[in-house]
Symmetry: D2
Subunit: 293 residues, 4 copies
């Protein structure tokens, strides 16, 4: 099976490599073309532009960093729209808001192309291990056709109905995740300031009803103040913002997500936006302790 | 091994039964004595007062509903203090604040008694299954002696140092749990109002980094609006309050816990205090939708 | 002086009447044209379309309900852009976000027109009394020319520099106002549930450092549960949202505004969006009291 | 009229001086007795202990920093209880929680003494100017007798019924004030980061519905980062905490106050507890701005 692949950031690179290693022929493109070199070593071809990739491949997958990049790759000069046509499918796996997804869907289908949005849950490690969760929505037929690729990229895929639902589901999951990260950080901080061992807190939580892989994975690193970017904080904050905007549309009041979003914004203002989203811990723990009279 | 057991609420009853079924001789007491009948059928003896239980047993375990009850059982007429003396141990497994625990500890040790606080993490089901997590603090020697009982009641026990640390650790864990419950409720509500399947949201989350037993257990019931009390909401709110008070002492700012606490208070004001703490979901989902011009 | 006036909602109508009664010749337009009748009785002319008004008048003022309406009046068929040209000025007094204002500004100036944004602080009553506060930004020369009109509409006008700054200042003021309204509502509710007189609370506050006209005006009505719409809640919530978005752009963490926004959203979900923004009080006071065992 | 006066902190000193300058004979006491010197220069006598003051005076006023100090002055050795008896009145003007006030009231009345709680609204400046607002509760007869002193100390006094209501009213007012301070700080910060003049924001707000003395007084100093302690931040945070506890008792959900309380706690953790409560501004403004890739 031949697929195009647009976008070779942290996630996209890992995903494209997985496709290559599992027998797919992959033509890659990235804004900074030099990033394609490593993929070429793995056997990829390179397309000079998004349009060139679409021209060559029946299916093109995109994995871009934000709505702006997702729109740009489609609508700009030499973009996807230049070559998309009847018989060709475009699968956008970027995390974008439903509006962006709809805009892209309309443009693609107007040209006769086929569209599937398929944002993923999971960051660097699951991407590398082919263990992503894929939240697809749009044309059911193309979903069925690209299942072989999804089976390589993820451990499970869902088809969620109309375009926009993949984006929405992703935002809801990331919103819950963002609030949980803040809850963890508050817990670690309170333990520490109360004279308790943070590691014991992690051990206790890991045995009970709230045990979860994220606490297990991120907790020890947070204690050490280490935040290598698996899922950059600025992207987590963007997702919180988009989830809150979705709530706004539907008059859903979400005070915990709102408070968490403000903590992520505080982290951004402290210059932590490019670190892992667990770096929000610096917001909670930064204080030096009171010295009141 | 012979142990006394004070308090046969949801948790206490399950724990006392486990001790009986694992070969312990147990003398039980409960404020409403009729609640002892079921335990008698399992082979328990009954003590007329806390003092009578302590008089009879070398080790007495208590599992009471709140700080007030925990203090009352110790300090009231015919209470634990009447009979505690050198050689006798008192193990308070109630969830109370560190101050309450310290007060009890001082009174017991002043009489020559030995004290261990040992609050647990886990509610009805883990109590029944002997799968609690035990957070002990106080006298290390008595901790070592009662390990056989802890092995029956829980799957793991921790010794955390000075009296108060068990209480504090428990509060921190429950605070994180309370914030996670609110995050889950917001997620379910947002999914529903955005046209997504709540069950699919649970399925997606259960495959990823934030998968945890609580979401798996409580989520489906919350969708149905079913909240049989495993851990009553008013107790969860009490723990949030105590955790925030601990944060206050140590100047720890915890905006997510604070927002979660206000949601639990709202739930109490709606008359949901005696339901399971997952009933906070009613606060988030109750709205009927806007009908703006 | 002759001015056009687009938009005869609660605010616009009061403002247009003030201009008429102070000797201005006013040509009005409203989407529902029948709303113009009352103005005609006061001496106004009617324009069939925004374009017709602009064609007739050197200066055209707009007072529209939201960014969508503000854009529509300019960009739609028979809109302002059809007739704006060199020598003509367009003064948009609607409350919109800076992006919307910039879009309008660019379109107007591209056609050779002159642009001033001039959102106002103050609702129905100040509009009727000519006591608005005017937050102008854009072309300084046109600001100077329309000062006579501003003197009729408001008690004070500010020139704030580049286009967008008027919108931004308005949002900041309304954000603070929205948080204050929530703080008032919490105070009234706490007083009531604690057995204190809500009216005495208002009296005490009115004598001290936080005494302000809004508490004085809205407080007694809130106690009675009366919320006649001076500033509709859905518009206040929109402004909170836009202010938070402005904070998002600049990485400013604003937890109090965020919590207040969620309360306004809750009010919307309860169907209160068309009432006065003080109706957020129903969110705080609605609870019936706990009936815990 | 002769009165005793216990406690010569910022507030107490100003109040005692006012009494002296208005013809009252005042016997003062302070934990650090040297603080009495300045009052002696104004004509005061000094009592060696609270008991000595009460022995000498028919009415004794107390103005202490917190519940602990208020209790200590009454219950400790050589405290008020040693000498209070039939015919003597004790007027506690400290800001304490209702429980503390009730404890003191019971002890005083049990000895035959008469009790009035009378916390005040207003800080240093109003105390100096005799412009406090006095929130009295307890025995109505003693309230009527000490009106001449209240007329010197304040511009208005309220009698609010049973003991505890003065404390509760004070907390509610200070809670609203604390939330407003946070709202102001968010507004100033957002203005600044959005390229607007903070002083113009203050000017605009001062012309509209939310104009209030606190914004007028504190705003310009906050812009400069100047926070001379009129009302220390740690006391404001204590009042927020007590108000939230009052809400907890009555199942009142107050998310804005809760978020504000966390901001004040953050300020304490930054070592700002002894500065004016407006120093919470440092929490909001401290960020340096994001430097995201």
């Amino acid at each position: 099976m031949e697929v195009g692949f647009l976008g070779l950031g942290i996630m996209g690179k890992a995903m494209a490599i997985n496709l290559l290693r599992n027998g797919f022929m992959v033509t890659v493109w990235n804004r900074t073309l030099s990033k394609c070199d490593e993929l070429v070593e793995e056997g990829a071809s390179v397309g000079e532009t998004p349009a060139a990739v679409v021209k060559k491949c029946k299916y093109t997958v995109a994995m871009l960093s934000d709505p702006k990049a997702a729109l740009s790759v489609v609508f700009d000069k030499d973009g996807v729209l230049d070559q998309i046509c009847e018989g060709k499918g475009y699968i956008d796996m970027s995390t974008v808001d439903a509006d962006t997804s709809s805009k892209i869907s309309e443009a693609i289908t107007k040209k006769g192309g086929r569209f599937l949005e398929a944002p993923v849950s999971g960051s660097k490690k699951p991407a590398e291990d082919g263990q992503l969760i894929i939240l697809a929505a749009g044309e059911k037929a193309i979903y069925d056709e690209v299942i072989p690729a999804f089976d390589v990229l993820g451990k499970k895929s869902f088809f969620l109905g109309e375009v926009g639902n993949g984006a929405r589901m992703k935002l809801v999951v990331n919103m819950v995740m963002g609030s949980m990260m803040n809850a963890l950080s508050e817990g670690l901080t309170l333990a520490d300031k109360s004279g308790l061992s943070q590691q014991t807190l992690l051990d206790v939580m890991d045995l009970g009803a709230i045990a979860n892989p994220m606490f297990r994975l991120k907790g020890p690193a947070m204690i050490k103040g280490s935040y290598p970017p698996a899922f950059p904080l600025k992207h987590q904050q963007k997702d919180m913002r988009l989830a809150l905007a979705l709530g706004d549309e539907n008059a859903v009041s979400m005070p915990i997500a709102a408070a968490s979003n403000e903590a992520f914004k505080k982290a951004r203002s402290l210059g932590l936006g490019d670190l892992d989203f667990s770096a929000v811990h610096e917001v909670f723990k930064c204080a030096g302790g009171s010295n009141e009279a």
